[in-house]
């Protein structure tokens, strides 16, 4: 990268990689490669350890669906397990002297 280009990028010029035209092109190229990997199974026979894994496009479908399942499961689990990221920063209410700062125990 030339210094001028680097300066331009620092100042906010949009990189060729993030221009809409490039992104559209990348989607097309990826789509074609995805299709090719499935079509390739016409010429390359896959030996199955079990029955279903010999089906054409098995790995594509299984990979895609298991990823969807994992993302959805993670999303559902997130509702239960997610906390603000200062959750553990707040002091625990362990000792009475911590409580005194909260003003919960001032009647002595």
């Amino acid at each position: 990268m030339t210094p001028e280009r680097e300066r331009a990028i620092r100042e906010g010029a949009s990189h060729w990689l993030v221009q809409p035209r490039t992104i559209r092109l990348l989607w097309w190229i990826s789509g074609i490669i995805l299709a090719l990997t499935v079509v390739a199974q016409l010429w390359i026979p896959v030996h199955a350890h079990f029955a279903v894994d010999g089906w054409p496009g098995f790995y594509a479908g299984f990979g895609f669906l298991s990823c969807v399942a994992m993302v959805l499961f993670a999303k559902a689990l997130g509702w239960v397990l997610k906390r603000p990221d200062d959750y553990y920063v707040k002091p625990t209410q362990l000792a009475p002297n911590v409580l005194k700062d909260d003003g919960q125990d001032d009647d002595v």
């Binding site: 990028i9 969807v68 397990l81 997610k82 000792a95």
Partner: protein
């Protein structure tokens, strides 16, 4: 020239001590040379027990060689060299020294011929990895380091109980395959698994590693969990329980990494995920599976260190650790981006990277054994690895959106370390025999068949498609996820606080009741005293009572 005179671990320990004592100008040279000399010494160790000595009245075997042990020690020494190269200009000397002794501990465990030696080096690792965590230098690093130390010292204690039990029962301290048929072997099993971040004690890893310094994380990613894998291969090969423990770790790592926002915590969860693959392989226990576990540990150490290096370089240059605040860094850190992507492809087992030639041995081993469920779960998990580490990490750190951050490229020593490790990932991928030649069992396995490459590409690329299709669901939130450590970080303190407050309230009520009772009595005595004592009674009463007493006295004298 160099005769084998002492355990390779001692060379690295000596190097670490020299780094601490020498002048600042000499430190980098010593720190870089020590792992290389250690590596040379490792290759000089022949098979069999090489060095025995007496320790506290026990015969211990400090060095025992075998192909498997040399392989693990080799990658630990390489890792120590790469880590020092990445860190030597940025780290303080004590961080370098501690990291070198930590690596020496891992090498010591690799060559340990008996359980006592294993335990000593095990504890050495626990102590000095804690120091490396503390070198993060923040308040949260201090706290996380203490939690980390508590977990590992407890784990060490459990391991020691097991070792003592085995010695009492059998009189032998040999490292050999054990069966889970007694309390002592269970203790050893649990002690080893705690270091592997197996459930339920897995939260320590993602808790402590992200708090280390940008350089410290590189060292931490390598040693503890992988020595534990080696110990499992040596002590519990083919233990069926490990298959399920490993599978749980695999999916735990994926799911928690998907939820995570901190970039190095994503990588930490993915360590648990990858170690899960190795633990599963040890559980399957065939020669191919054990070869796979060892090979995967070797390639994992290199690509995971590479990922931690690229994350460390970003953290060092920007000071930002959250994915929600990062993005678009490929503009000004192109080399770090490329190296990070190579690491990410390797961890995802992309063809022509190191992960491909090692991980496929594990899934093939499950396939050959006709472990149907295990095989399908491993394949789903391979897709999941691409999802949570292979794309998620580079996408959110280097691409995603333009965060406005324009950090300069990483310092030169960091760049060289990243280039070396990235080259190693690709070299092993292109020439798998480099790795297969080190394995404990003869390798009759060909990773590059047309069908294997095509199916793996299908699996990974469609996982990638799933990522971009589901991108709206993956939007980063500024959150953490609760884990088992919630029990000891929140639930137990909260419960203790409740009990403490409850008891305080009871004791206050009791003392308040007692004091008000006392007050009431004293007030009663003070104010009502004239009812009982004469001092405040009128003179007439006194005269009357005197007369009565005298009269009584008179009557009594008359009678008596």
């Amino acid at each position: 020239m160099f005769e084998f005179v002492m355990p390779p671990a001692f060379i690295l320990i000596a190097g670490a001590v020299l780094v601490a004592l020498s002048r600042p100008a000499l430190r980098p040279i010593i720190a870089l040379l020590a792992p290389l000399i250690t590596l040379y010494a490792i290759w000089q160790v022949p098979d069999g027990v090489q060095l025995t000595t007496t320790f506290l009245g026990y015969q211990i075997e400090l060095v025992e060689g075998s192909a498997l042990r040399r392989m693990f020690a080799t990658v630990f020494a390489l890792m120590a060299f790469g880590g020092v190269l990445f860190a030597f200009r940025q780290s303080e000397w004590y961080e370098l020294s501690a990291a070198m002794i930590y690596a020496a501990g891992a090498i010591g465990v690799s060559f340990a011929g008996d359980l006592i030696t294993l335990f000593i080096f095990w504890e050495l690792m626990a102590l000095f990895s804690t120091v490396v965590v503390w070198c993060g230098g923040t308040e949260s690093a201090r706290a996380a380091g203490i939690r980390y130390a508590i977990v590992h010292l407890t784990g060490g204690l459990i391991l020691k109980i097991g070792i003592e039990g085995i010695y009492v029962a059998t009189g032998s301290l040999e490292i050999q395959a054990l069966t889970l048929d007694s309390f002592a072997t269970w203790m050893v099993f649990i002690g080893v698994l705690i270091n592997a971040a197996a459930p339920p004690i897995s939260a320590w890893l993602a808790d402590a590693y992200p708090e280390s310094s940008p350089m410290g994380g590189v060292f931490l990613s390598a040693f503890t969990t992988k020595t534990s894998v080696l110990a499992l291969i040596l002590l519990f090969p083919g233990q069926p329980l490990l298959v399920w423990v490993g599978l749980f770790m695999i999916f735990y790592g994926i799911i928690f990494a998907l939820l995570e926002n901190d970039m190095r915590r994503i990588l930490s969860y993915s360590i648990v995920n990858q170690v899960g693959f190795m633990v599963t392989a040890v559980g399957i226990g065939t020669e191919l599976a054990l070869n796979g576990a060892a090979a995967h540990a070797f390639s994992h150490i290199i690509y995971k260190a590479l990922l931690f290096m690229s994350a460390g370089a970003v953290l060092y240059q920007t000071g930002v650790r959250k994915c929600s605040e990062l993005g678009g860094l490929f503009r000004t850190m192109p080399l770090t981006t490329v190296c990070g992507i190579i690491g990410a492809l390797a961890i995802s087992a992309f063809p022509f990277t190191s992960g491909f030639v090692s991980k496929s041995m594990i899934s093939s081993a499950a396939g050959y054994e006709h472990l149907g469920l295990v095989w399908f779960l491993l394949i789903a998990a391979s897709a999941g690895v691409f999802l949570h580490a292979g794309i998620k990490f580079p996408w959110f750190v280097f691409f995603q959106k333009d965060s406005g951050l324009r950090p300069p490229e990483a310092p030169w020593n960091m760049r060289i370390a990243m280039i070396l490790f990235a080259a190693a990932c690709i070299a092993i991928g292109l020439f798998p025999n480099l790795l297969y030649g080190l394995l404990p069992y003869p390798v009759d396995y060909e990773p590059y068949t047309a069908e294997h490459v095509v199916t793996q590409l299908q699996l990974l690329l469609f996982a990638g498609l799933a990522f971009f299709v589901l991108l709206p669901l993956m939007k980063r939130t500024e959150t953490i996820s609760l884990d088992v450590d919630w029990i000891y970080r929140r639930a137990v303190p909260a419960l203790a606080g409740k009990i403490d407050r409850g008891l305080t309230a009871v004791s206050e009520t009791v003392s308040r009741t007692l004091s008000s009772l006392g007050k009431f009595l004293i007030k009663g005595f003070k104010e009502g005293s004239y009812n009982y004592f004469s001092s405040r009674a009128p003179m007439g009463h006194t005269a009357l009572w005197m007369a009565a007493v005298l009269a009584l006295f008179l009557v009594m004298t008359l009678i008596i």
